[in-house]
């Protein structure tokens, strides 16, 4: 993991001090709310329905146990004993008092964390693959590049007042767990024909009101030019992105308006003028950062673990959890463990202080001190010995963290919705809870296979509904909650937007309708065919019929 040196530490420390001053000026009345708002937003502090909400950055979703323990401590001391993990691998506190926030940020800075640029029209926290450094699929660990981007974008003097927020994601695997095609910039590390590793640069994807699967503007960018190329894209966007209408201000609208070719030309022109300047980091700095992400010292182990085999045979619950929640590790004898934050009937992405501490302890003991946050609002222990899986599972179970549903129908992404969010049309969480209860039976879930349900409480699409196999969008109809269903979306390497299938359903109807969809799929599927593939084969027509069958 990256560790701050004195420079990183000083910058975060300076920021906390600056924010403390800003809060003092607000509390004394020297700053009006209008003046203070942009300042607090730049530090991730929103005013939500019930209270302030503080969003803390978890750079590319990587945490140490010490950091996770600090997050738990903050939840207990300053909040109401829990926190919420988001689709951007960040964490949110729902109840902090303004007067406490400088102290919270102080506490975070002691574990090399901050809330810088978790809001506002600037470059936000960079996200990545939660399996980075652990999966055999990747070409190299993408996180050094994420850290390089984090540093470059932090307090960027030119790009802190962009037309709109700006999100960057990086992946290095063919299997895309970072949703790079629905980001303002998606970067995919891959090998060129000559064997050189570089970035595919995807620009102008995004969800929200105008969902777009981002086009590739450059097939291959040599790694060493990453920052100058990013700077060129951002400069074109900063100068020419629309500022007259906030719904048309994201870079995707500019790319669309200019056309991909014209946009590419502008970027390349700008890049030609700045590449080779001081923007591109020297090799020594890239290497310095890369060293922090060197693989941990794995033990040499056989592929299979005898004790694991035995436990699988003797405990069906454990066997299921291993099947569903663990993934292949690049190192023989190790596994990647997914920790579901989606207990049946629970709030997707919420974790209590005790749960965070339990996960931190497990990471320290069994996973080289590392935890990851996934964009699907779960946690992940990246490097667990197969011999230790049973012990890990046993502890997870004690903390209600062993729900065996990763990738299944009850592993639902849901935004906070009207239970917390001031922008919401409808609630999202209760729909997630009811769907998860409807499919509570784990045999049924596992038999159904991968079904990604994603729920947003308004068109801002924080719940990624456009790219759900089943997407659900809350809409307000004369003060009543209605839900619009989209089908066939995907955020993975086969990214595509779901089709809107018809009129909205009332909150009373929507769960039954989802069940009918799933039943229809079960009746029609071929052997081993996923919901999404069956939908692609059969088309929206029959699914639509099933959805509205009772209406």
């Amino acid at each position: 993991m990256y560790r701050y040196d004195e420079f990183d530490a000083a910058i975060v420390y300076d920021r906390v001090k600056q924010f403390r001053g800003q809060v003092e000026r607000r509390l004394s009345g020297e700053l009006s709310e209008d003046e203070f708002k942009p300042l607090r937003l730049m530090n991730g502090l929103y005013l939500q329905l019930h209270a302030y909400m503080l969003r803390v950055a978890i750079p590319y979703g990587t945490l140490s146990s010490k950091q996770l323990r600090k997050l738990a401590h903050i939840a207990r001391k300053y909040d109401k004993g829990y926190a919420h993990f988001t689709t951007r691998q960040n964490v949110q506190y729902n109840w902090p008092a303004l007067v406490d926030v400088p102290d919270i940020l102080d506490g975070l800075s002691t574990v090399e964390m901050h809330a810088i640029q978790t809001s506002g029209n600037c470059i936000r926290n960079v996200t990545s693959d939660q399996y980075a450094g652990a999966t055999a699929e990747e070409i190299e660990d993408p996180r050094p590049w994420c850290e390089i981007i984090r540093q470059w974008s932090t307090l960027h003097p030119e790009f802190s007042f962009l037309p709109r927020k700006f999100k960057i994601a990086v992946t290095a695997s063919d299997h895309d767990r970072a949703a790079v095609r629905v980001h303002d910039i998606g970067l995919r590390l891959h090998k060129s024909l000559t064997g050189e590793v570089g970035f595919e640069v995807i620009v102008g994807g995004g969800l929200g009101r105008t969902p777009i699967i981002g086009p590739t503007i450059r097939e291959f960018l040599p790694k060493k030019h990453l920052l100058s190329y990013l700077e060129a894209i951002l400069r074109v966007y900063n100068l020419y992105g629309r500022r007259d209408n906030k719904y048309k201000a994201r870079i995707k609208i500019l790319v669309n308006a200019e056309g991909v070719d014209r946009f590419r030309e502008q970027v390349e022109q700008e890049w030609a003028l700045i590449k080779g300047s001081d923007l591109d980091l020297p090799v020594c700095e890239i290497d310095r950062i890369r060293v922090y992400f060197s693989p941990p010292v794995f033990e040499r182990l056989p592929h299979e673990s005898a004790s694991l085999k035995e436990s699988i045979q003797s405990d069906d619950g454990f066997a299921r959890w291993v099947r569903v929640n663990t993934a292949a590790h690049k190192q023989p004898g190790y596994a990647i463990v997914n920790i579901s934050l989606k207990p049946i009937g629970g709030v997707p992405g919420d974790a209590t202080d005790a749960q965070m501490e339990a996960a931190a302890d497990l990471a320290e003991r069994y996973s080289f001190d590392e935890i990851r946050v996934t964009h699907e609002q779960n946690l992940c222990l990246p490097h667990v010995k197969k011999d230790n899986l049973f012990a890990v599972w046993t502890t997870l179970k004690q903390h209600d963290l062993a729900t065996a549903n990763i990738g299944l129908v009850s592993d639902i992404i849901a935004c906070p919705g009207l239970d917390y969010c001031t922008l919401a049309n409808t609630r999202s969480i209760p729909i997630a809870q009811r769907i998860s209860e409807r499919f509570a039976d784990f045999d049924v879930q596992e038999n159904l296979g991968e079904i990604k349900v994603k729920i947003s409480g308004c068109i801002n699409a924080c719940g990624h509904h456009h790219v759900g196999h089943i997407g659900i969008l809350g809409v307000d109809k004369k003060g009543e909650e209605f839900y619009q269903v989209t089908l066939g979306g995907s955020a993975a390497e086969d990214a595509c937007l779901g089709d809107i299938v018809g009129r909205g359903l009332s909150s009373g109807e929507v769960v039954d309708a989802v069940e009918r969809l799933v039943d229809f799929y079960r009746g029609e599927r071929n052997d081993g065919e996923r919901f999404l593939d069956a939908y692609r084969r059969l088309g929206p027509g029959p699914f639509k019929e099933a959805l509205y069958a009772n209406a």
Partner: protein, 94 residues
Amino acid sequence: MKAVTANRLADGRVVYLAPDGAWTERLVNAAIFENIEAENALASLGASAIEFADAYLIEVHTDGYPSGREALRETIRNSGPTIRTDLGKQAENG
């Protein structure tokens, strides 16, 4: 009928303007205004006040419960998250 609501500056708690001009945490204790009076009450709050942030008007019934299009939103603000009835004002009201 209307009431004036805001979030308290120091801790963000939902508050309502009371008849005595102070802020109360309980909507039942809020001042209920006719539309025009409500606009005046809101306008007279002053922009850089140090007790509250983001003041606006909500529609309420004469009995003080939220009404109109935003009734659900304002009910949730006044009580707490519907999925965590152990939190927010609903938890304190007993």
